[in-house]
């Protein structure tokens, strides 16, 4: 529950004849996490080397590459193929041998043709672009080149030009400057070019075409049209191939990638001339299954044994072992870092606390329902992506919690609901002076602030959030104590355990000292305790004693850690964001309602006119805009802040992370049958 799945380390040894059956069986079971064999001269593995891939791996890989290239040309992937009948492996094998080469050839031909056409289109487009300046040219293009004694220069220049050498100039005005074509004697070309530089000439190549530029452009446009028609036709052909073979391609991709993975498995094994050995991890509950199945697959010619594990801290891969409702939060754990094998896995606690924090922040029936509908709607969109499904599930839980808190806070889109808030209220007064009685009554009529009394619950709410912080952080330290007890060794272990106790003592010591001096709502009031010395009462002195004891315990582990002591206060105060961020979203909602309804819509409704109706529509738009914005902010704030409270304030107290992901050898087949 709060621990990852228990793992056992297995050693499998057999003669090389059994390599095939063992790999096939392990792949089929999909529970064995292979420890890759690394040649580093261990004594027990003397004479063993990394194995060679099974025969046929290269052929399979080649076919797989072919299929993947076709798939990428078609833009199809496993996720885009809808659920269908699973193909049998033998059938697929036959078709890969018989049909695949022909399909690949067809697709390649079509693709090559398409690419050729597309590059021609691009070339023609470039030529049209080059012809554009010459559309009004005074002479056909063939007359502008190929003379023995005369050269033509074309280009864009700034301002009218004026050269010292004899020349003939044709000029065309345009917005960006003048386009000129000029004819000069060959002997004058270099002088002319030099002088043209003064006019900032950007030379343009004269296209080697015949006839007028307009005519040439028209011809190219026709060609492009034809090519585009052919490209469309090719695409239709490819589309028909795609729809015909899509399922075959994707299921054989799955089949072949499974085959390749199996064929390459020996690269992770230790092999000698006649035998092979492989170590790996399986969930302890399934270890006997591995024994039995391998025995059956190799007719008893395999040796499987469970190995002793020396250091549980580092080695085993980690697989979560949580009840179903906590699965979505594992996403947040992986986002941070997977827990190590021996440490506490906080995903279950997070699955409970995270939605509560989200609800406390958002706490609005209206927004909660909007998010709930969004979560349910998104479910079909993220099908196929595990992380997406997890995220949507978290959103669903959070929005349900927001609705529950909304009912308790009596809030929907910033309006109060027709009942009093349960226990604490966070209704605030927007758009009126909080002190004057009539104003409050007027506001209450608009459903905004129900009474002056409710306004004053905000300090209590802040204290409530501080309580959440104190408990959360104390729990974090207690878990830190437990992790130190299990994961550390020797002298360091006890120091670390004491230090965790020290942190708890310092925090509670500060708290008791504060209680001894100031009465705070929702917290014990110890300020009435009798005075002892120097004007300090018993509670204050007890608090200081506990604090100092805690400091000593912290300093014993590491004196420098004392510098971190002020973070206790900032960490606890950080939890006030649960209320502060929530209040800001309440305020935005109320302001939106005030602007849209009280300032725009209501005055117009009293005196309906045409302008008034336009203004009312405008008011409705302002209402929708404000609440859409606030929903987005609520989602972002409600999601990010609890996440940060977990990552920064909570995890830093105990969590180490860095566990290896449990990645069993095998695959989940979607489109093919199990062999």
């Amino acid at each position: 529950m709060f621990q990852p799945e228990s793992m056992s380390r297995l050693l499998i040894v057999a003669s090389k004849q059994q390599l095939g059956p063992v790999i096939t069986e392990l792949f089929r079971m999909n529970i064995f996490h292979i420890d890759d064999y690394v040649e580093k001269g261990d004594e027990e593995f003397e004479g063993f080397r990394i194995g060679m891939p099974l025969a046929g791996a290269d052929v399979t890989s080649a076919a797989l590459v072919k299929i993947r290239s076709i798939a990428s040309a078609f833009g199809i992937s496993k996720d885009t193929v809808s659920d269908t009948k699973r193909s049998s492996l033998n059938e697929l094998k036959r078709r890969v041998e018989q049909d695949l080469p022909a399909i690949a050839e067809d697709v390649e031909k079509l693709l090559a043709k398409k690419t050729k056409h597309e590059s021609s289109v691009k070339e023609f487009e470039q030529r049209i672009e080059a012809l554009r300046p010459f559309i009004d040219a005074p002479a056909p293009l063939e007359l502008l080149q190929g003379y023995d004694t005369v050269s033509f220069i074309a280009g864009n220049v700034k301002g009218p030009i004026n050269l010292s050498v004899p020349c003939e100039i044709w000029e065309k005005q345009s917005k960006s400057g003048n386009f000129v074509i000029l004819a000069v004697k060959n002997s004058d070309v270099s002088t002319a070019e030099k002088e043209l530089l003064d006019f900032q000439i950007q030379k343009v190549q004269i296209p080697s075409e015949t006839g007028s530029a307009t005519q040439a452009t028209y011809e190219y446009e026709q060609k492009i049209l034809e090519l585009n028609k052919e490209i469309t036709e090719l695409e239709t052909q490819m589309e028909s191939i795609r729809s015909k073979h899509e399922i075959f391609l994707m299921s054989s991709e799955e089949f072949l990638s499974g085959d390749v993975e199996q064929a390459e498995a020996p690269l992770r094994f230790a092999t000698s001339e006649h035998a092979f050995a492989v170590t790996g991890w399986v969930p302890t509950s399934k270890a006997t299954k591995v024994f039995e199945n391998l025995d059956a697959a190799c007719a008893g010619k395999v040796y499987v044994s469970e190995l002793e594990v020396e250091d549980y801290n580092e080695m085993p891969p980690v697989e979560y072992d949580n009840p179903d409702f906590a699965h979505p939060t594992q996403l947040f754990m992986d986002l941070y870092s997977r827990p190590r094998y021996t440490e506490l896995d906080p995903s279950m606690l997070m699955a409970i606390v995270f939605p509560i924090m989200f609800g406390l922040i958002l706490g609005d029936v209206g927004y909660g329902l909007v998010l709930l509908i969004m979560a349910l709607g998104l479910r079909s969109l993220v099908k196929g992506s595990e992380a997406g499904m997890q995220l949507v599930a978290v959103l669903r839980n959070c929005s349900i919690s927001a609705v529950i808190f909304g009912v308790a806070f009596s809030e929907a889109f910033g309006f109060s609901l027709p009942w009093q808030p349960v226990w604490l209220s966070r209704h605030i007064n927007i758009g009126g002076s909080g002190a004057a009685e009539p104003a409050i009554e007027e506001l209450a009529a608009h459903g905004m602030a129900t009474s002056a009394e409710h306004v004053s619950h905000i300090p209590q709410l802040l204290v409530l959030s501080i309580w959440i912080g104190i408990l959360h952080i104390t729990l974090g330290r207690l878990w830190g104590l437990r992790n130190a007890a299990v994961m550390d060794h020797g002298h360091h272990r006890s120091l670390k355990m004491y230090a965790n106790v020290g942190w708890i003592l310092v925090m509670w010591g500060i708290l008791i000292a504060i209680w001894g001096n100031f009465p705070i709502p929702l917290m014990p009031d110890l300020s009435g305790t009798p005075e002892l010395v120097a004007g300090m009462n018993i509670a204050t002195i007890a608090g200081i004693v506990i604090l100092v004891l805690g400091l000593v315990l912290i300093a014993r582990e590491n004196v420098l850690d004392l510098m971190e002591v002020p973070t206790i206060i900032s960490n606890v105060l950080s939890y006030t964001r649960l209320i502060a961020v929530g209040l800001s979203s309440v305020a935005i909602a109320m302001v939106t309602n005030f602007i849209a309804i009280d300032m725009i819509i209501t005055p117009q409704l009293e005196n309906l006119s045409i302008v008034g109706i336009v203004l009312i529509i405008f008011g409705i738009m302002a209402f929708l805009f404000g609440h859409t914005l606030n929903t987005a902010l609520g989602l972002l704030g409600g999601g990010l802040h609890p996440l940060r409270l977990h990552y920064v304030e909570f995890f830093t107290k105990f969590y180490r992370g860095g566990g290896k992901k449990y990645d069993p050898f095998g695959m989940v087949r979607k489109l093919t049958e199990q062999n």
């Binding site: 941070y336 002190a435 905000i458 300090p459 964001r577 961020v581 990010l640 802040h641 940060r644 990552y647």
Partner: protein, 83 residues
Amino acid sequence: MAAEIMTVEVAQASAAGMKAIGAGLAVGLSGFGAGIGEMGIGAAAMGAVAENKDMFGIALLFTVLPETIVIFGLVVALLLMFQ
């Protein structure tokens, strides 16, 4: 001049106004602080995420770290306004 028209109501109203100004300053200035803090972190975080998408979670976390300052400002403002 001011002393002549100063009544109890005016004094109360101006005290309330001062409170409101204080609350506004608390949120506004702490917002500036957090913004300046997040500026560098955010830029670096974008760089890190561009290099390695897996960094997104941690990058986001680091980026919102200075936000605590605003929260403190907001809490001070709330206490000013509602206590």
